[in-house]
Symmetry: C2
Amino acid sequence: MTIVALAGGTGGAKLARGLQLVLPAGDLAVVVNTADDVERHGLLVMPDHDATLYQLDGRFDAERGWGIAGETWTVIEELGTYGEETWFRLGDRDFATHIARTARISRGASVTDAVLALQATRGIPSAILPMTDARVRTQVRTDDGWLDFQEYFVHLRQAPEVREVRFDGIQAAAPTPRVEAAIGAATAVVIGPSNPIVSIGPILAVPGMWDLLGEARARGVPVVAVSPIVGGVALKGPADRMLASLGLESSARGVAAGYRELLDGFVLDEVDRDQEPDIRALGWRTLVTDTMMTDDASRARLAKAVLEFAGSR
Amino acid sequence: MTIVALAGGTGGAKLARGLQLVLPAGDLAVVVNTADDVERHGLLVMPDHDATLYQLDGRFDAERGWGIAGETWTVIEELGTYGEETWFRLGDRDFATHIARTARISRGASVTDAVLALQATRGIPSAILPMTDARVRTQVRTDDGWLDFQEYFVHLRQAPEVREVRFDGIQAAAPTPRVEAAIGAATAVVIGPSNPIVSIGPILAVPGMWDLLGEARARGVPVVAVSPIVGGVALKGPADRMLASLGLESSARGVAAGYRELLDGFVLDEVDRDQEPDIRALGWRTLVTDTMMTDDASRARLAKAVLEFAGSR
């Protein structure tokens, strides 16, 4: 049994942890968004991969909401004294991740091979697979023009309204052989509760990815999504405002509609129970449950419920 | 007035600090060996440049004899958990130097421009100039074959006997325009008390460097060297054993002879006073003085003595 989860760096990464907690070792492959990736100080930083890695190896800083718990900040502060920009905060342990990964790539490894080698050293029982080895970068258009995603997301703290989103380089991208194999072997696909536009969106926009998932569905593999919008708001990040400023509805229903014919099931929170009929009207099965993931117990509980729901058709 | 010092990472770097202490701001250019440089974890590490930088900006760890005082070791320990080799110890602050430099090079800067930019942020009144921007790497032949220098120097702790030394890439190297200009404007050249084979040797082996120094001498610019061998032994590093196993004499006299017609003055320690006649017999002026540099006062005293000696002909 292989469960494939699609994930960004927050809710999707948390649900991946829940899935890893309840699945037998080796049964989980997490396909992560790489369009948030960014070169900082000559190093390849992969926020969504790394949030998932730190969730799965137990190092994630739940309090801060990113990075590794118990971090120190010597390197970034020293880099500041050398004239490097430091608004993108990276801790010392986190730096080691970026250094080790970039070193492997500079020695000839693909992005996928580099991250799989790092994952192997952590002893995690899951595979975290970059959606593609090609360079794809999300850019957002604000009233001041196009910005790189992390400039908008971290430097400007998501203050500007987003008028348009594009994934630079996506036309030349393709799913990796590892992603193709994982989806080809999947017994269920779970789209995590991550930002549908800038986290799940780039994964689905990789040419060929939608077809891979469609073929899985045609083979009878359930594809279910978990809403990242609860009570009309995103638990973390700008998904709600982004949906609204792009003219979409910031609701479970709005997210569900965006996934179109890809799904056969949708998971929404109990507070959004009133939207269930609308989502069923799209032709999908629904699961209404508590989707809050505040600790490992609630992550495991949601993961178990989602897997049972996926397998119940 | 421009004083040009040639330096490796230990005695030469200490004398550079002494020279900076006694010279007016802007009057010192230190040409450093780059053949010890090494790529670690995808980053360009420049041991001789950095020892000189940390000497000149006051951060050098005199107790340990390398790196920055008060270092922490989070990044290298974390890199070890990711499967990176960690025998080449790099502190967190030191990592920032290598990251900032490699970042500038990856953005298109030459090695010289990258290190000058870092130096500018430290507010030091001297210039530290890589001998060349080309990639030159010292390799030593031991009874087990050719080794990269840092493999021999750090990993094997200089245990093997050195049978032969070569500077890989030296034929394609040239002094940088900054080095040419500094030597062209020099009023004196001081060859620091660094290993004559693997620290000063590569600098002098850069095609064109010997001629630049010879032309300076022909213009009447004094070129003086300070012996790194005192009482037959190197104060730090393997220079004495290296000289012996290459069939040379491990003595002030042996070092002096190696610099051949380049010099017109040689500085030796009081304990080697008995060698003064032999060195004079080579045709050079001599200065016998206390060459120990245990603190800033002794570094400044030696620097002052060397400058007076250089200017006294």
